[in-house]
Symmetry: C2
Subunit: 211 residues, 2 copies
Amino acid sequence: MKQFPDEFCNQLHDLMRWRRDVRHFYASKPVESALLETVLEAIRLAPSVGLSEPWRIISVKSDAARQKALNNFENTNADALKGYSGDRAQIYAGLKLSGMQDAPVQLAVFCDDGTEKGAGLGAGTMPETRRYSVVSAIMNFWLAARAQGLGVGWVSIIDPVQMAADLDAPDGWALVAYLCVGWPMETSQTPELETVNWEKRDPLLAEIQER
Amino acid sequence: MKQFPDEFCNQLHDLMRWRRDVRHFYASKPVESALLETVLEAIRLAPSVGLSEPWRIISVKSDAARQKALNNFENTNADALKGYSGDRAQIYAGLKLSGMQDAPVQLAVFCDDGTEKGAGLGAGTMPETRRYSVVSAIMNFWLAARAQGLGVGWVSIIDPVQMAADLDAPDGWALVAYLCVGWPMETSQTPELETVNWEKRDPLLAEIQER
């Protein structure tokens, strides 16, 4: 059986501690395509329900497509701000919640809900596991990227139906995440939402109940 | 900025290649609680939308709770089998799709959909990102476990509402995964579904479209 040494386990823990949701990128520092391909390979190694491999990716490159995506975020974010008041609204308004204006690589990640691959195995009562497979792939990608020094930011303040339409995504593709990728301007072990006092990270895993 | 050496990146790739969905465990070889706690720590390091940390875990330990969970799987699996015919049905009937009869550790992983933590940030238009946060945590756990030599199997052939009721889960908790954890009887780089010719793994990531 393949063994992983203690030193690797410790470094893996470090990698997970240093993985952050990045919103500040060096806009003019490109991500080499060979490096990006190496990191994308991690997606293919993710688990998928019934081996359905339902992940689909659209690389958002053109100015027109990026502008539509940015408009989507800005409109959705303006709506979200209206849901807060007082201190919360003030903090929220000051947050930088996407790196879409800077990130050299932007990937819209979809789930092909209707794929016949896997013949439905494992997804009968929990069809949402197809989308969960895509999330698993994103996590592999995120960790592999961070190991190479790249930053990844997951933008969820998005109207997903509008995004699919704007990107002319094939029928049946549901947006799971909009990822910003690039070289991070700063790295920290502390989530930005904790730094600005939006929310605290729990120091311990919540009590595990037993049955 | 924290750097990870090339050797670590290569080992991380190996880890992802060796991570499998495990269904065959050494039933009588216990998982030391200190080791399990170390691996569970990886959950706390996962990303969560708005820092909502919505992951909730019930450790399924008692004979009574395990029997209910096993019944749930067996009934759901029997129903799923009815959906196949011919060769597919024959292969399906021969698959071992859960390690629930062997795994020394069994964790029902839920999402607290109603948590107020994070004050809804990032989850306005995509509330499913709370459950995606739980999936991210499961992936961290899975990789950390495999690095320690532990196997993890994700059972999705489950009626999730019945499972929540049987385990007396608090209101608002939605089942995301039922995880079997233990020492794997065999390890391989090849998914079992590929070995039995249920489905092929794509040799390459599907073409990334551009917009």
